[in-house]
């Protein structure tokens, strides 16, 4: 394969602009990350590949298509556009490119980042978009506790488990990274606009798609490989038998990542994914300590269920409040059951529950279920 003189009409990125070359290569149709990595390995630099692209593709059946794209794509313009939107563009050659991600078999040629990435230990938390209250609580408790231990939480900003994990990580005072299936400047789902801003401020929104890319269905499986790729391990909380979480797990196994699963209710169809993983030998998770220990991160996180206590109880009902909290240690209860077991009137329980809820000690769920606050964060009020 000789290196020919580039044809005069070839788009020329600013001489020596490696990043622009990577951007250009990432926009070629039918050319995957592995191919690009192979070419760059042989040519020594992305710039060289971009300059002499026809030589690399001459034997391919889709050479004409790729050449057409090569002539049309203006890497400098994409780069300029992304930077004007406040995005950081990280090429695979960039020293700031996450090391974990660079090590996977098919690292993305380019990452568009809003916010900042660092090399802190990361754990991915993924699961059903239509999670049950139990699943959401589990995601919140784990993400909150991990965040407090300084672990970055990686997820996909989707509805359900994903957004619960992001939120809890932020509440826990930690960092969190959202990997998107659209451009880093696009918010999907739209109701997570505020959450996305918060994530960008205390972590990063990451995408391998250039700015303005819409959230197409085909993008999501691909982005899942980045979720696992950015983390040391993947925690699966709830998912049906065909859940996207299982796609992430497949990538995680390819990438040599640890796989964790949180057991669910045997009555819920959304326990199918975590339970099948557990059956296959995934590490079972009851609390953040399980994850930290397995990843060798060391843990000061308590083991066993339950959250911290020792928070001021409402005036005038201290005794009743303590009784309610003690009853709820055993798991969520219905308001009526709570009243009966605590031997309190519906009126008294109603009042106490509101007061404890305002202190962040408990929370109420649809169906009049009352449970201890998953993160157990209790202050103020």
């Amino acid at each position: 394969m000789g290196l020919g003189i580039p044809p005069p009409e070839a788009p020329a990125p600013a001489s020596g602009d490696e990043v622009a070359a990577w951007v250009g290569l990432s926009r070629l149709p039918g050319v995957g990350p592995r191919t690009i990595a192979g070419w760059v390995g042989r040519a020594g630099s992305a710039w060289a590949v971009w300059q002499h692209l026809p030589a690399f593709i001459q034997k391919r059946a889709d050479a004409a298509e790729i050449l057409a794209a090569w002539r049309k794509v203006d890497p400098a313009a994409i780069l300029e556009g992304a930077r004007s939107l406040g995005l950081t563009v990280l090429a695979a050659c960039d020293p700031g490119f996450p090391a974990l991600l660079r090590a996977i078999p098919d690292p993305p040629p380019v990452l568009y980042v809003r916010g900042s990435l660092d090399e802190a230990a990361s754990v991915a938390v993924v699961g059903s978009r239509r999670a049950t209250p139990y699943g959401l609580a589990a995601a919140e408790r784990l993400a909150f506790d991990l965040a407090q231990e300084g672990v970055t939480i990686v997820s996909g900003l989707a509805r359900g488990i994903d957004s619960a994990a992001h939120k809890a990580a932020l509440d826990g005072g930690g960092r969190t990274v959202a990997v998107l299936g659209c451009g880093a400047d696009v918010t999907y789902p739209p109701e997570h606009r505020r959450l996305a801003l918060a994530v960008a401020a205390r972590g990063a929104l990451v995408s391998e798609f250039p700015p303005g890319t819409p959230p197409l269905p085909g993008h999501f499986p691909r982005r899942n490989r980045l979720i696992s790729g950015l983390a040391l391990g993947v925690v699966v909380i709830e998912g049906a038998g065909d859940s996207g979480a299982l796609v992430t797990v497949d990538y995680a196994l390819d990438q040599g990542r640890e796989v964790f699963a949180v057991p669910g209710s045997i009555f819920s169809a959304r326990s199918a994914a975590p339970h099948s993983l557990l059956r296959q030998g995934a590490c079972m998770v009851e609390n953040a300590g399980d994850i930290l220990t397995e990843l060798g991160l060391g843990s000061s996180v308590r083991s066993g269920p339950g959250g911290p206590c020792g928070v001021p109880v409402p005036a005038g009902g201290a005794e009743g409040a303590a009784r309610l909290l003690a009853l709820l240690e055993g798991g969520p209860l219905r308001l009526d059951e709570l009243a009966e077991q605590a031997s309190l009137s519906a009126a008294a329980v109603g009042a106490l529950v509101t007061m404890l809820e305002m202190r962040g000690l408990i929370r109420t769920l649809p169906g009049q279920m009352v449970m201890r606050s998953p993160a157990g964060r209790g202050s103020g009020g």
């Binding site: 509805r159 009042a351 007061m355 649809p366 169906g367």
Partner: protein, 508 residues
């Protein structure tokens, strides 16, 4: 010869006096009715002629004109049959004008001369009293109703012939006894709160709704007993007073819904219109200007099951009556006012599939569908509902082995006492000329409670309107407890009954 007999026609809920004048004079034999009769009155011609003949009186071949005065108001229904027949008999010399003087008569005639029941007799009795009528002749089936108000002596008329013989004094009929309010015996109560097992929170909400006259929204999966609970609200409200019972009876009578032989209605009504009902059916109106469901629920409970399924215009139509306690229906011939002071109980599923929060089944609704469903609720109507409470599916052993709940009578005693306290406080405020603003409007609130409310509004992101609702409900809770000032625990409990505020869709 000229004759006149007093009668009345129903306009809205009131009876409008009608003077039935008959002139039987020389000329070609005809029988005509003038004075804005509707088709049913027009047909009286045929019924009256047959009834007179079959009662063994005569219709001489004269030119007979029936005039219904006043001539500018439309007369409806067959209630004028009996007075027309009596007036015809007077005009043709078969009955003395003296005999009918001062009598007010209503009733539909059968072809055989029998007298059939008509709607609105209680209203007619009130009109008779206002006119200082000497006596009231009504169909037998309506006699108890007419006598219930103890307005004027009431005579139950079985047939036209009996009416004539009574008026002539040959076979006088005994006046119907006035039926004083008979308290319904306790064991005869059809629904009792004791039948509801478990559901402590919902029962409590029902009690608060009763005590404060708050409107209530029950949210729960299908088949958990939302309707059962709503049906029992009338049984814990204070008993109807005599005046209220007369009002309710009058409404049902005018609507033609009062069973024959019924005296006063003594139970608070419960109305549960279907969600496909039209606006006139709910609010009132339509041809004939009938009272709608909200008027039939006057002094009682209006239950709207499947609230989000009701048509938007129907729910919007409820707003003004809920505010004023009166609905005004405008017609070509003037406006009609119907009373409509009711307690609203609405029910809905927690989500389109109905299983959100159900411990037995997973909910299959997407967040989008759930938001769409909640958005279908009319905001302005929701603003008038103080209490929203979840009614979860009872645990099986709770249903099977649970103790029977507290009976309605015990709850009613507390509700009645709470209402008394509220009434007394309002009277005191009025007497002292206090025009309070802010949270103290509904009575004293402790300083601690005010501070708590500020934190709560902030934490739970309550809108200003919701805050006001919470304060009112807390006031009622304090009244139920017999406490003068609203305290923290009252507010805290009141906050439990704002489920929809917590479900409010996140602002994007």
């Amino acid at each position: 010869m000229l004759a006149a007999v007093l009668s009345a026609t129903i306009v809205g809920l009131e009876a409008l006096p009608v003077s039935v004048e008959v002139d039987a004079g020389p000329g070609l034999p005809t029988f005509a009715i003038v004075g804005l009769p509707d088709p049913a009155v027009q047909e009286a011609r045929e019924r009256v002629r047959s009834a007179i003949r079959n009662s063994h009186y005569e219709i001489p071949p004269r030119r007979t004109i029936v005039n219904l005065a006043p001539g500018d108001r439309r007369k409806e229904g067959p209630a004028l049959d009996l007075p027309i027949a009596l007036a015809v008999l007077v005009a043709t010399g078969q009955l003395a004008q003296q005999a009918v003087a001062g009598h007010l008569a209503v009733g539909e005639l059968g072809l055989d001369g029998s007298v059939r029941s008509v709607p609105g007799v209680l209203a007619v009795a009130q009109a008779a009293r206002a006119l200082h009528a000497r006596a009231l002749l009504v169909p037998e089936a309506n006699a108890r109703e007419a006598a219930a108000g103890e307005e004027v002596p009431v005579y139950a008329i079985p047939t036209l012939r009996a009416a004539v013989q009574h008026l002539q004094g040959t076979h006088p009929i005994r006046a119907t006894e006035g039926t004083v309010l008979e308290p319904p015996s306790e064991d005869a109560a059809p629904d009792d709160l004791a039948e509801v097992r478990g559901q402590g929170a919902a029962r409590r909400a029902l009690e608060i709704a009763g005590a404060g006259g708050h409107n209530l929204l029950l949210i729960g999966p299908p088949g958990v007993g939302k309707t059962m609970l709503a049906r029992r609200l009338p049984t814990i409200l204070p008993r109807l007073s005599g005046a209220e019972a007369v009002e309710v009876t009058k409404i049902y009578s005018v609507a033609g819904l009062l069973p024959a032989w019924q005296g006063l209605i003594t139970r608070r009504p419960f109305r549960a219109p279907h969600h496909a009902a039209s606006a006139p059916a709910i609010v009132g109106g339509g041809p004939g200007v009938r009272p709608g469901e909200i008027t039939l629920a006057h002094h009682g409970v209006l239950f709207l099951d499947e609230l989000p399924e009701f048509r938007h215009d129907v729910l919007e139509g409820l707003r003004q009556p809920m505010e004023d306690g009166v609905v005004v229906v405008a017609r070509i011939h003037g406006t009609v006012r119907f009373p409509a002071r009711f307690s609203l109980v609405a029910a809905m599923n927690p989500c389109p599939c109905g299983y959100r929060g159900d411990h037995r089944r997973d909910c299959t609704c997407t967040p989008g569908r759930l938001q769409q469903y909640l958005a279908r609720l009319s905001g302005p109507l929701l603003d008038r509902i103080d209490l929203h409470v979840e009614v979860p599916r009872p645990l099986t052993d709770e249903m099977l082995s649970g103790e029977p709940g507290e009976p309605s009578s015990a709850v009613r005693a507390r509700v009645t006492a709470a209402r008394m306290r509220a009434t007394t406080r309002a009277a005191v405020c009025q007497a002292e000329g206090l025009l309070l603003r802010g949270p103290q409007r509904w009575g004293p609130v402790s300083a601690e409670a005010l501070a708590f409310m500020r934190v709560a509004a902030d934490r739970l992101v309550l809108a200003a309107r919701a805050t006001e609702r919470v304060l009112r409900v807390a006031r009622t809770i304090a009244d139920l407890e017999g406490t003068e000032a609203v305290a923290v625990q009252h507010l805290a409990e009141a906050l439990r009954y704002r489920v929809l505020d917590r479900w409010a869709p996140p602002v994007p």
